[in-house]
């Protein structure tokens, strides 16, 4: 503490009159009182946020947690087929099913058919091996009359498919409640007879292609918004405030207009009997027979998504360009740079923060797009979100939807983290 050689310490000690820590009026040590006051201030700030945090945890974080749980947990087979699941747990992958296995299988299907849950079991195996649901239900019907040993022969007599090693591999994959098989399926992978991870049949490989298409289309849309947004943002930034505020309305109006309205307008404009085709014919660019097909394919998705996401690129670019000092470019010109060099070497690098923010935001929003591809995408313009919706409402394979959603969520959260790192969420602006 205060050594006698330290003149300042000596002065403080003398001024205090005593060799004790500073205290408040009611005699508490000052540092403790300060710590308490700041703790109280922290609590007060936190209490203001707490209701919303609780609300978001309940209505947003928990539902997503539940979805993630569903992507690794499906007890449709294991809960209704306990004996054969136990046999799978005891044996190594690749073991040829013996008489005990067939006995367990027959008893399980019989019990499950009586409990009317054999459909659930069949549906679960159907996810792994399409076309097997009816095998379970029909076998269940036959087994309700009773079954005699030897079980192997009895089962094979009901249906020869029961000897199929691939079916046994599928049942093994489903025999635990917690499973990675939906994630494997999301990556077009499955476990074969020996328990090794292999690619699925070529005609069933769709998901990786869809993920790649989603990434590719999002990148393309991001690039298009950059191409169209950059000149606009530059113009708005260099015009006098009064004029640029007026033109800004043209950017903000699409931003405020309903997404469905904008998608509808593009459907109306782009269809084969629509305004764009009529205009092109009137201009003589195409003839009546050569009407362009711009909808229900990727072109429609790209055009509509570019239009919808363009404001998200323009706004951050604009707010950065506003702050760029024009005298740097003038200095470059006066030192002999051509206008192109001055733009490339001086102006453009200064816009990169805004460009990064805009591009990340557009890409994040594009990756998860659902409505526009669903309405104007046709077959070739479908993205991964549409596949999630298809599994939710069409095939009812909810675990698969959850696994695909979890992978998409992981990607988006990584991008979100990068965005927070580079741009900061506080700098997100809305018009």
């Amino acid at each position: 503490m205060a050594s006698p050689l330290d003149p300042h310490a000596a002065i403080v000690t003398e001024a205090g009159g005593i060799d004790a820590p500073l205290t408040t009026a009611d005699g508490q040590p000052l540092h403790r009182a300060l710590a308490r006051a700041s703790r109280r201030a922290r609590w007060r700030a936190f209490l203001l946020v707490a209701p919303l945090l609780a609300f978001i945890l309940l209505t947003f974080v928990m539902p997503i947690g539940q979805m993630l749980y569903r992507s690794v947990h499906n007890d449709g087979f294991s809960a209704n087929m306990p004996q054969i699941s136990a046999w799978f747990a005891e044996t190594e992958p690749g073991t040829t099913p013996d008489e005990a296995a067939f006995a367990a299988l027959a008893n399980d299907i019989q019990a499950s058919a009586e409990a009317r849950s054999v459909g659930i079991v069949g549906t679960r195996i159907n996810y792994e091996l399409p076309g097997t649901r009816s095998l379970f239900t029909s076998t269940g019907r036959k087994l309700r009359d009773g079954v005699e040993p030897p079980y192997r022969e009895a089962m094979l007599e009901i249906d020869r498919k029961w000897g199929d090693p691939e079916l046994w591999a599928s049942m093994r994959n489903s025999s635990t409640a917690y499973t990675d098989s939906f994630y494997l399926a999301s990556l077009d992978r499955t476990r074969d007879v020996n328990g090794d991870i292999v690619q699925v049949n070529e005609n069933r490989r769709v998901y990786i292609m869809l993920f790649m298409r989603t990434l590719w289309l999002s990148a393309l849309v991001t690039f298009m918004t950059f191409l169209l947004g950059f000149p606009i943002a530059h113009l708005l930034a260099v015009l006098p405030l009064r004029k640029s505020n007026l033109l800004m309305i043209l950017v903000l109006l699409p931003f405020w207009t309903s997404l469905l309205v904008r998608t509808t307008s593009w459907m109306v404009l782009l269809q084969q009997q629509g305004v764009v085709n009529d205009l092109l014919i009137w201009l003589g660019v195409i003839d009546n027979a050569g009407r362009l097909k711009m909808m229900y394919n990727q072109i429609g998705t790209i055009i509509a998504m570019t239009h919808i996401l363009l404001p998200f690129m323009i706004l951050p670019l604009y707010s950065v360009m506003r702050t760029i000092n024009p005298s740097y470019v003038r200095a470059a010109r006066s030192l002999g740079a051509t206008s192109w060099t001055a733009f490339r070497r001086i102006y453009f690098p200064q816009t990169l923060p805004g460009l990064g923010a805009g591009a990340l935001l557009v890409f994040i929003l594009a990756v998860g797009y659902y409505i526009t591809p669903a309405l104007v995408g046709g077959a070739s313009g479908q993205l991964i979100s549409n596949m999630i919706a298809e599994h939710m409402t069409g095939t009812l394979n909810w675990s698969m939807a959850a696994a695909l959603a979890a992978i998409l969520l992981g990607g988006v959260l990584i991008l979100y983290w990068i965005y927070d790192r580079l741009v900061g969420i506080d700098n997100l602006k809305l018009g």
Binding site: M62, L252, V261
Partner: protein, 323 residues
């Protein structure tokens, strides 16, 4: 932006070409929204300009699609338009019911999002807030996470998180829940979901307003004897009100425009305008869609004007910009 006097001919050409490109991009931005307005007055059930429309013949224009917005779904659309016709429309017309649902859900979710979001923004703007960055990231995430993922999660949550039948809790909440005591297919479920989606917008706009907020004003009020409540309502609130209102408008528009969550968690009783449009686009697309779209465009123009006025007022009273 004027060209400098020393510009070369090449630069002049580029300058005019640049302005032309910008004009084209502005047309790309705005034309698709404006073009549906005249098309919605089409007499024919087409999505393109008929020759009569192009020659500005009054016969080429009609209000039939606006009329169909009222009559679609009515029990007796052909009846004379007296009081009973209007009662029929009010009770049965699909678009009218969708508008009612959209407004009910929009208003309640906006109130919820605005109250919770403003409180949280006040807390987040205090320098002593712990874990500020992490909490902010969590609260903004409903805007970033793809809607389809949120809707999927809510679907699982709403169909599994049910109150047990005949408990005292379910007797209190019964009017807000479905017959099986769940949130699926209920107004409450949609309102909670839309409030969640609107909250990020409220937080962003209110914290942006609070950036220029002078904390010493609060201390001054306190030193003059005002209690925290008086300080909030007499000093803080009037200053951040423009931000709060534009946040509320954003939240309302988010709810008013939202269709994915509605598709997944709402029942036939909670059909909103976007849901009805979704049906219309996917099934029997008719220019009636353009009529409702036109009404929505006019609605968004009004909202945009309000938000712009509020923003300017907010900047003026906080002294950020002159005039």
């Amino acid at each position: 932006m004027a060209l400098p006097t020393y510009a070369t001919p090449l630069e002049r050409t580029w300058h005019w070409a640049y302005l032309a490109i910008c004009t084209l991009i502005f047309i790309f931005l705005i034309a698709p929204i404006l073009i549906i307005i005249p098309l919605s007055f089409n007499t024919e059930p087409y999505f393109t300009f008929t020759p009569e429309m192009l020659s500005l013949d009054p016969d080429g224009f009609s209000m039939r699609w606006y009329d169909s917005l009222m009559t679609f779904g009515m029990a007796r659309p052909e009846a004379p338009r007296d009081a009973s016709w209007f009662a029929d429309m009010w009770a049965n017309a699909k678009w009218v019911n969708a508008a009612k649902n959209s407004i009910i859900i929009g208003v309640f979710s906006t109130v919820l999002a605005t109250v919770l979001g403003t409180l949280a923004a006040l807390g987040l703007s205090r320098p002593e807030m712990p874990f500020r960055r992490l909490i902010m990231a969590i609260l903004i995430s409903p805007m970033i996470v793809p809607l389809i993922i949120t809707a999927t999660g809510l679907f699982f949550f709403y169909s599994s998180a049910c109150l047990p039948q005949n408990s005292w809790l379910s007797s209190i909440f019964a009017p807000f829940l479905s017959n099986s005591g769940c949130l699926a297919n209920t107004y409450l479920g949609v309102i909670l979901a839309h409030a969640t989606l609107g909250i990020p917008f409220v937080i962003i706009t209110v914290t942006a307003t609070l950036v220029g907020f002078d904390q010493s004003l609060n201390r001054a009020a306190a030193s003059l004897g005002a209690n925290p409540r008086t300080t909030f309502f007499r000093v803080t609130m009037p200053l951040i009100l423009p931000g709060v209102i534009s946040g509320a408008l954003f939240a309302f528009v988010t709810s008013f425009d939202e269709v994915v969550a509605v598709l997944f968690i709402a029942g036939p009783d909670q059909q909103t305008i976007p849901r009805q449009m979704w049906n219309g686009i996917r099934e029997q697309i008719s220019p009636a869609i353009l009529a409702i779209a036109t009404l929505l465009v006019i609605f968004s123009i009004a909202l945009l004007a309000t938000v712009e006025l509020l923003r300017r007022r907010s900047e003026r009273i906080r002294g950020l910009s002159p005039g």
